[in-house]
């Protein structure tokens, strides 16, 4: 299991760069992963990220549709925040596993 | 689970059940249809009953046979509709609905004209708009020895506006074949200023009336029937004597519409002409004779309406705007006797046209011209009705909206 130092902290990551343990996550880590992808995080991004982390902690499956219905952000907004990878990039930044859903 | 409720299992109601069943998901929608009566009549056939052209069996079948088994069929009287509460009271139960289709039709109201239901009713005064009326008239005609036959329309609108005229034509033919035409004087009495509601057609039909020696009395607004002198009396005190009166009484919507406060003064429900949604309640749709739309009250109209209404109900339940589509399209065969018939095709705004139908220039049916083929078209329609129309199968090549191809739009009728 690769270990990577992000924002000065050693974390376990998967081959694709997703955090293996969501409890190792902090906001600094999020910002660094985001800048690697090319996204600058705003408070709105963190709203989405926190929502995703809550859902994951509750072991609920994540889908774009679920996010769209959450009231946090609509689907169009989600694509704007995380262009070209609404669920993929947001999950990576949120420190949760790579999404397995196709929708 | 949501409920789609259809009131009336006549032509329109039955068609709607058949159209909607395959479209709606059965785990989401339950379709229920309510009708008080067990028998489904082929109403266009009533025209032929009095002349022994059709037998009783050809015009009546058990209504349930035409309702798909997955549809909940309730044979009970409808007491009242409560549109504000989305429920319908039957004789001993209450049904809730999410979407309601009213297809309660129209019927004759002879009691609206003083003197119609009097000593002469069913003796010398008959109707043929009911099964019983048509049979009684048949028995009367079988033994009638002649005299003044008056075919009379009380007021518009009526179901199948050409039927009375056809009755006059068929009567001419019937007495001719019996060899007693010289003993019968036929008059056609109408509140309109011509033989039909549409001027083009009127000219063509007036010609036929003349040819067949049928006298026409126009602009006759009946006030009462004098049973003693055997006369029709109008508001200007014009009098028309008869020996045998065949009348089309006032046509009205069902009483349940009146009890529910949904109708106009003739118990017809105010309905959007193009979408068939009721004007007062967005989850109530109206089809067939029960509407107040200014189209003919006829099965062909109901058939074209059913296609539009099916689409609109699907759009409505998914929250989409309705299609303003129905254009009043009607077509009908006018039986002119002697095994011939005219075919007319019209809508809200377009006069009946000449040309060929259903294929432009090819036909084979001729519009607005007497032909033997049209007569067979009319008789074949009974089969189409029982086997295709009620089951919601579209008639190939006949569109719900009027097609303008290959039809001639002038007002002058073709004369031979």
């Amino acid at each position: 299991m690769p270990v990577k130092t992000i924002a000065g902290k050693e974390v376990n990551v998967s081959e694709d760069g997703y955090l293996e343990d969501m409890n190792q996550w902090n906001e600094e880590i999020a910002k660094e992963i985001a800048s690697e992808i090319g996204i600058e995080l705003t408070p709105k991004h963190f709203e989405v990220i926190n929502f995703l982390r809550e859902k994951t902690a509750a072991k609920e499956a994540l889908t774009i549709r679920g996010v769209g219905k959450s009231g946090v952000v609509d689907i169009k907004g989600l694509y704007k925040l995380f262009p070209k990878g609404p669920l993929k990039f947001s999950s990576k930044i949120a420190g949760i596993p790579k999404p397995t859903s196709c929708i | 689970m949501k409920n789609l409720l259809i009131l009336g299992a006549g032509t329109s109601g039955t068609m709607m059940a058949n159209h909607l069943l395959p479209k709606l998901y059965k785990d989401q929608w339950k379709i229920t249809i309510v009708d008080q009566y067990k028998t489904h009549y082929y109403q266009p056939g009533f025209l032929f009953l009095p002349f022994d052209i059709y037998t009783e069996k050809q015009v009546k079948k058990v209504g349930k046979k035409f309702i798909p088994s997955e549809v909940n069929y309730i044979q009970k009287k409808i007491e009242q509709i409560f549109p504000e509460e989305n429920k319908v009271q039957l004789e001993d139960e209450t049904l809730h609905y999410d979407v309601l289709i009213i297809a309660t039709g129209s019927k004759i109201a002879p009691e609206e004209t003083p003197g119609l239901i009097g000593p002469l009713w069913k003796k010398d005064i008959f109707d043929f708009y009911t099964y019983e009326g048509a049979l009684d008239l048949r028995n009367k005609l079988r033994n009638w020895e002649g005299g003044k036959l008056v075919v009379h329309i009380t007021e518009m609108p009526i179901k199948c506006p050409v039927a009375p005229l056809e009755f006059a034509f068929l009567a001419d033919d019937y007495f001719r074949k019996k060899g007693m035409r010289d003993k019968v004087e036929i008059s056609y009495v109408t509140p309109l200023s011509g033989a039909f509601t549409k001027p083009t057609c009127t000219t063509a039909l007036n010609y036929l009336l003349k040819e067949k020696g049928i006298k026409i009395e126009t602009d006759f607004a009946i006030e009462s029937v004098d049973n003693d002198t055997k006369e029709l009396v109008d508001y200007e005190n014009r009098k028309i004597p008869f020996d045998l009166l065949v009348t089309i009484p006032t046509n009205m919507g069902d009483e349940v519409i009146e009890r529910s406060g949904l109708g106009d003064d003739l118990n017809f429900i105010p309905t959007d002409h193009n979408t068939l949604q009721s004007l007062a309640h967005e989850n109530i749709f109206v089809i067939g004779d029960a509407t107040n739309v200014p189209a003919s009250k006829a099965g062909s109209v109901a058939h074209f309406q059913a296609e539009t209404l099916t689409d609109n109900i699907l759009l409505y339940i998914d929250g989409y705007p309705l299609k303003k589509e129905f254009d009043g399209h009607a077509n009908c065969f006018i039986e002119t006797g002697n095994n011939k018939a005219l075919l007319i095709d019209f809508n809200y705004v377009t006069e009946p046209v000449h040309g060929k139908f259903p294929f432009a220039k090819i036909g084979p049916l001729k519009l607005l011209k007497e032909s033997v083929l049209n007569h067979w078209g009319k008789l074949a329609f009974r089969w189409i009705y029982w086997n295709m129309l009620l089951k919601g199968i579209s008639i190939p090549f006949v569109s719900r909206n009027m097609s303008f191809k290959g039809k001639v739009f002038d007002i002058k009728p073709e004369t031979k």
Binding site: A61, T63, I64, R65, G66, G68, D74, I75, K76, L78, Y79, P83, K84, G85, P86, L87, K88, S101, C102, I103 | P22, K23, L24, Y25, K26, D27, S69, E70, D311, L314, L315, D318, Y320, K323, S399
Partner: protein, 166 residues
Amino acid sequence: MSTEKKPLEKVCLICAKGSLEDVYASLVMANGAVMEGIETKVFFTFFGLDGITKKAMNHLHTATTGNPAMRMPGGLPFPTMLGGLPGVESAVSSMMRKQMEALDMPPVDEFLEMITAGGGEIYACKLAVDMFKLKKEDLSDEVSDIITIGEFYEMCDGDRTQIIFT
């Protein structure tokens, strides 16, 4: 890492069939592409048009006859004869829809919105639209345009493009 990766840049999907599973197959593929940041265009033609026609799109059914991939619950092959029986088709459709709902698959109209929200584009085939006598307003609002097949192929230009016929 000796070979250079050449990720897809554009996916063009053609949906020509109108049964529940055919339309969803196209939608899932399209949405998947949009989520991966791939430029996505979907062309609906012939019976596939049902998938973007307002009155039909949320009332699609499963083809139970002539569908060799159909399975009974539990995985046994589904006898084609069975599909012709009354009621079977609706039972199968409802079962399919329940399974899809469990996976958070939206109704067709919402699925189309998801795709366009992500920048995917939906097109209707002009020939088929004319054939079924439809108008622009009969189609879902998510449909960008009614175009010819030629125009669609023009949109499918570029190196890393795939056309997928479902």
